[in-house]
Amino acid sequence: MSKPTARPTAKKPRAKRPAAPPPPPPVVLTVSGLSKSFGQSRAVADVDLEVRKGSIFGFVGPNGAGKTTTLSMVTGLLRPDTGTVVVAGADVWRDPTTAKRSIGVLPDRMRLFDRLTGAQMLYYCGVLHGLDRETARSRTDDLAVALGLDGSLDRPVRDYSIGMVKKVSLAAALIHSPAVLVLDEPFESVDPVSTAQAVELLRRFAAAGGTVVLSSHNMNLVERVCDAVAVIVGGRILASGTLDEVRGAQSLEERFVELAGGRVAVEGLEWLTTFSD
């Protein structure tokens, strides 16, 4: 639990010694000019993002801001109208096979093959990403222990709770040890213990050189876990950078509410204060 505080403070001594700045880690995910319209409505407008290797990147925005649309286009699940996505040197939309080898995906609100058991599901994902039998099986066991899924792996996924489905999906995204993990709402409906377990797993993954992009509504969690943040509102990126750059002197939640349109004064709901008894 010392890591999140260690990271921001580590930057202060760096700033004091401008003579020898360590080179920033390379960029592994570049999004440029990404746009998508559904009919008349512009869901995502000209989004640019850069994510550096080894970072945990938080993608936050209010409901309907275009988070899922953007992440779907980044992972090759939704074709953008314009713009490019480059992951580990490969263009997701020009060279999808190469790019998809380096991406692990946890999409929001998509089904799984839910008649498979958890173990079958993870094995399936592993082999689809080119793992051999032994590797797929041993990684299934490792991930089950790390995410607290052991004991549930022999049940069909359709019998899982929403939180369990999230956990098995996270395991499925991790099983081929991708360079970049893209997680859409990974902690929604997941209990605090499992969240802590998963966060620990993601920290280890990032410390070893992996990169994580995750979207969330939970500002406390993002503030605790992520070292870089982008705020998207109405399909546009309003702020992007390291956690400190984005939040400034405020908490992330205050900054977010300010960016997302501020607190609207609640008016016209007088009936809500006159109780019927």
């Binding site: 074709r79 995906v105 999409p107 799984l112 093959f113 008649r115 994902c125 082999v127 689809l128």
Partner: protein
């Protein structure tokens, strides 16, 4: 010691009759065994050993039935509670254990059947000069069946290192039993129906071969000349002695050697996934098979497919069409619909197809995997039923055409489906829906997709169908039609999967988008 093991054996037998799910199974097994036993005894009263054909048939039937009985314990798939190694922890001398297990094996259904088989051999030869030889052969034969089945149980237990392996052993044993019983029935049928010289020669030749194998020599002994008869009986005696001594040695070895570690004790079985290669097409085939067997939406086809041809035949019969040649229709129709059914397979995945979209494998792997269930369902049905239906149709030499056309329709259908499920997908009933549930919205494209894929299959197969039509007036076209059908099928399947694979990869995001919108 011996009486302990016997009491254990009796308790095991009694447990099979306890009320519960197992009881139904027990009753089924008893009915089958009763049928076999009655059949064997009845045959012994009918057989006339003065006829060469009957003697030959007796050898074949007895050999087939004895193989079936010996394999039977393996087919239960339970392993044996009396497998020698289970007694390793007890202080029992190996010799004593071997004896006890051997005697225990003599109590039970296989031993009863073996005894019935022996008795029927004696009955068949009763009153003949070689009746004494028959008694000796029957006793040795029955004993050897019981010992061999003990060996097989031990071997089967050694092979069953994983759940998948155990299932495979059981499946092989059941297949052997079915084949053995079927060949016995066929032999009897041939003797009853066909008295031609060629049939007799076939039977005698087959029996002659069997008579010189360890499996058939005892059953052939009473019907042989004096010298070979003595030779066979002595060989049988030696065989039983060797088997019995070997049993003692094996039990001793098993008690000393450690159990083979079972790889899957800690790990659960992955079902179909353990049986397919660990490649994208392999696991997609396994997943597809699992859905075909578990998902009610697929079960609709499994129920509907056999019904459709039956209904069709009934309709024709009611309309007064000439019935016999119409027997040529059900199989091609079944093949056509089985191939065509997959034309919207991707939609059945609903949004779970994202797993395929997000993974870096070739589109053709996806197509091959989805083609596997209809193939392993359809091809055996076609091969097994076409001889029968060709026979009923009364059309001469039509068999190659029937097989070729049916396989061609199935494979062409799967090829066309590979393409259409990538480019012509339309909303289908959602996962979890029942077999008769309608999709949330049926668009016009659903109709187009269904009609065009069906038309495309028939169009590609039109040359073959034309050849079959010519064949009805000149039978030599039937062979050409058969070859043409299979060639068309294989070609269209390979082409369809290549084209469908490319289309699937190219259109994957749009397919996912379609699924998400419905």
């Amino acid at each position: 010691m011996v009486d302990h093991v016997l009491r254990l054996k009796l308790a095991l037998l009694a447990s099979a009759f306890r009320p519960g799910v197992a009881l139904a199974r027990t009753i089924g097994v008893l009915l089958l065994a009763g049928g076999v036993g009655t059949g064997v005894i009845w045959l012994s009263t009918q057989v006339d050993v003065s006829l060469e054909t009957h003697r030959a048939a007796l050898v074949i039937v007895a050999t087939a039935v004895s193989i079936g009985i010996a394999v039977a314990p393996l087919s239960a798939g339970l392993g044996s509670a009396l497998e020698p190694r289970r007694f390793a922890a007890f202080p029992i001398a190996p010799r004593e254990l071997a004896l006890a297990l051997g005697i225990a094996a003599a109590i039970g259904l296989p031993a009863v059947l073996a005894a019935l088989l022996g008795i029927s051999l004696e009955r068949a030869w009763a009153g003949e000069p070689s009746a004494v030889a028959a008694v000796a052969a029957a006793v040795l034969g029955a004993i050897s069946i019981v010992i061999v089945s003990q060996y097989l149980v031990v071997v089967g237990d050694q092979l069953s290192v994983s759940t998948a392996a155990r299932r495979t052993v059981t499946a092989i044993a059941r297949t052997v039993i079915v084949v053995a019983l079927a060949s016995a029935v066929v032999t009897v049928a041939v003797v009853v129906v066909d008295s031609s010289d060629s049939a007799t020669q076939q039977l005698v030749a087959t029996a002659g071969v069997l008579a010189n194998t360890p499996m058939g020599m005892l059953w052939a002994a009473p019907g042989s000349e004096l010298a070979p008869m003595v030779a066979r009986l002595v060989a049988g005696l030696v065989m039983v002695a060797v088997l019995a001594l070997g049993w003692g040695v094996i039990v001793a070895r098993l008690l000393e050697s450690p159990q083979r570690t079972r790889a899957d004790i800690a790990r659960s079985s992955l079902g179909w996934f353990d049986l397919v290669p660990a490649t994208p097409s392999g696991v997609i085939a396994a997943r597809s098979l699992l859905y075909w067997t578990r998902d009610p939406r697929y079960r609709f086809v499994l129920l509907g497919l056999p019904l459709a041809p039956v209904i069709m035949m009934l309709a024709f019969a009611v309309a007064g069409a000439p019935l016999p040649p119409l027997w040529l229709l059900p199989l091609p129709v079944l093949a056509l619909f089985l191939g065509w059914f997959s034309h919207n397979d991707v939609a059945y995945d609903h949004s779970a197809v994202w797993l395929h979209v997000a993974a870096p494998f070739r589109g053709s792997a996806d197509r091959w995997g989805r083609a596997v269930p209809p193939l392993i369902l359809g091809v055996p049905i076609i091969l097994a039923l076409s001889p029968l239906l060709a026979l009923w149709s009364g059309v001469d030499d039509v068999l190659p055409a029937l097989i070729g056309t049916s396989i061609g329709l199935l494979l062409t259908g799967l090829g066309v489906s590979s393409v259409s499920s990538a480019i012509g997908a339309y909303p289908a009933a959602r996962p979890g829906a029942g077999p008769f549930d309608q999709p949330p919205s049926l668009e016009a494209r659903a109709g187009w997709s269904q009609a065009l894929s069906l038309l495309a299959i028939i169009a590609f197969m039109a040359p073959t169908l034309l050849l079959v039509w010519w064949g009805l007036s000149d039978a030599q076209w039937f062979t050409v039609a058969g070859i043409a059908g299979i060639a068309t099928g294989v070609g269209m399947l390979v082409l369809g999967i290549a084209a469908g694979g490319r289309a699937f990869r190219r259109r994957a995001p749009e397919l996912l988008d379609l699924m998400l919108r419905t």
